[in-house]
Symmetry: C2
Amino acid sequence: MQFAKRIEGLKPSDIQEMFKLAADPKVISFASGVPDSTYFPIKEMERLAGTILSENAEKALQYGATEGYIPLREKIAARMKKDDIDTSVDNIMVTTGSQQGLELSAKIFLNEGDAVVCEKPSYAGAISAFKSYLPEFVEINTDEHGMIMEELEKALEMKDNIKMIYVIPDFQNPTGKSWSLERRKELIKLANCYDVPVIVDDAYGEVRFNKEKTPSLRSFDTERKVIHLGSFSKTLCPGLRVGWVEADIDVLQKYIIIKQSSDMHTNILAQMKVDKYLELYDFDAHIAEINSVYKARRDTMIEAIKEHFPSNCTYTYPEGGMFIWVEMPGNVDAREVLMESIKENVAFIPGEPFYPNGGVKNAFRLNFSNANESKIKEGIERLAKVLKQFTD
Amino acid sequence: MQFAKRIEGLKPSDIQEMFKLAADPKVISFASGVPDSTYFPIKEMERLAGTILSENAEKALQYGATEGYIPLREKIAARMKKDDIDTSVDNIMVTTGSQQGLELSAKIFLNEGDAVVCEKPSYAGAISAFKSYLPEFVEINTDEHGMIMEELEKALEMKDNIKMIYVIPDFQNPTGKSWSLERRKELIKLANCYDVPVIVDDAYGEVRFNKEKTPSLRSFDTERKVIHLGSFSKTLCPGLRVGWVEADIDVLQKYIIIKQSSDMHTNILAQMKVDKYLELYDFDAHIAEINSVYKARRDTMIEAIKEHFPSNCTYTYPEGGMFIWVEMPGNVDAREVLMESIKENVAFIPGEPFYPNGGVKNAFRLNFSNANESKIKEGIERLAKVLKQFTD
């Protein structure tokens, strides 16, 4: 059988393969970027489930509008407004997880051969979604303040096929890095100047360990270049597959048309559940609770790394999110390290899938949200021993 | 802002627009292809909802495998086996509604400019999904036995860019027509001979009013050319967005990779609900119940059409599904008829979006599943009066 050209380069993502490995209870997994299910609001979800069906079953189980369930869209808009974002229900479309927002963005903006700018490294799931539209990837280096603007400007100046900039400004997947206010402002300036849409992936923005929030790119997006992708997967639960796109109304219209032929609409019952949860419970208090758990785990992991990792490995210090990024000396291949560490029952994700153009083998991603503190200590110690064999 | 080329030709589908019209309670709507929500198994779903969360909440709300929830995949395979289809759990991937199966099929098989064969007319939602990959459409006429094989063979002979054949062999949307056994066998022969995959859209196959089932295309698909798309939307409920793809394992692997970057996986809780429903209740009895309701509505609609429609309008007689297809004299434009009939508070779908290459204006689709018998009588009478103004 003959497949389309776009299929040739695609391989199953390491991340999904890691889910399978991580399923062995002996393995301490720092691999998948999964929230800890013991902190899902299960009791609350149980209470909701019956209520929605007894009040509203015919609507919950019937076909619905592609844009999504209006009360949920209203609540999402209200939450964004609290962050100084000037938006309304008409700017919000519910997506089947924010992964769908990435897929739709690529489909809407990228012809074959067009270029997409992303951080180097960037989220593997976004790279896969974009890759299936056969674009060129322009990777821009980052430092501790975010994307390096001189590199971005040079790329925008030199290349006339850049159709989309993709960024994860808060607690990035995979590095855990965040952008400074200044870099955010500079990005908006460049996007305005070169008229390029900016896809902002905000999957981790609310998983924040310090009190202060750096304003979102959308909050000073005066010329409406930002398309903001939000998610309930990290703060509420991922299984329901509920995220959203916030965009200018004319742009959102394209998302609606494309989503319509992709899956008609997102599961209504799931939308109603999220809506009801937001109505009845204190979502911010819930977020604060999980954030305090994840913060403690980050601290534990950082301490253990400091104590045990070889000194020629560097690592990031995330102020939120779920990930620490480790770089080893240039000649070390993270896949080989993984093969050894699996024997010691520790798993992580080698960094390669986070580089769309490949070529970087000496980095890996550690997740700290999904193992408790004693497992984190134990796992990092074991991993450190393996690392020493490779980096000595 | 600049959009990809594929976006230019896409307009919001009439069908979704019709949902909005049909929402006015004064309107008798034969427009949307929606099951009657009063027959959803609501009591059963309420009972399930609590059980699943109290037994299995952490799994239900966490990320899951792209392939889908194994027990549900097993039950789907078992149901297909009862229809003499040689399959297994490894051949099944759960989709976010069978609409997603259509989108993924186009993405997997169609390069820009490749051709897709479909029935003339064909399902508008499939046409939109395919169109977004910029193919050429080869429309093949049908008669009362299905697609006309001489035309199909000629197309396959003449054109070397046909990469996919899309058919709805049972109770087609929009015509309500079904294929004879002989035509099905001939199609498989041609698909084998020309090595072209056949996407079988089986959304309506179980909504059957007579006892005998014509064997599915998959049941004599010896060389594995068929990709079978199934759905729970018409038989259980559409709001949960649960459908499936059944395919050869190597082909299914492509669907899994592409779905992974599209939405990671389908809502797990929804999959568990369908699974639990199949485990605890008699799904076939439920299907028999809704089929008897829809059969009576079909009878009522056919009777009313016979009695009131102008004699120069022809119509199909569906043995299942949800639709009757009406053709008016060649000079009548169904959109103009709709504009008038809306004034009389009756809605239907003009036929044009069901022809990917356009050009046919004198046909329309009537849905009989979503209005009760007295409304059907009343609506058809009103519509007949409008039709007489146009066809006299």
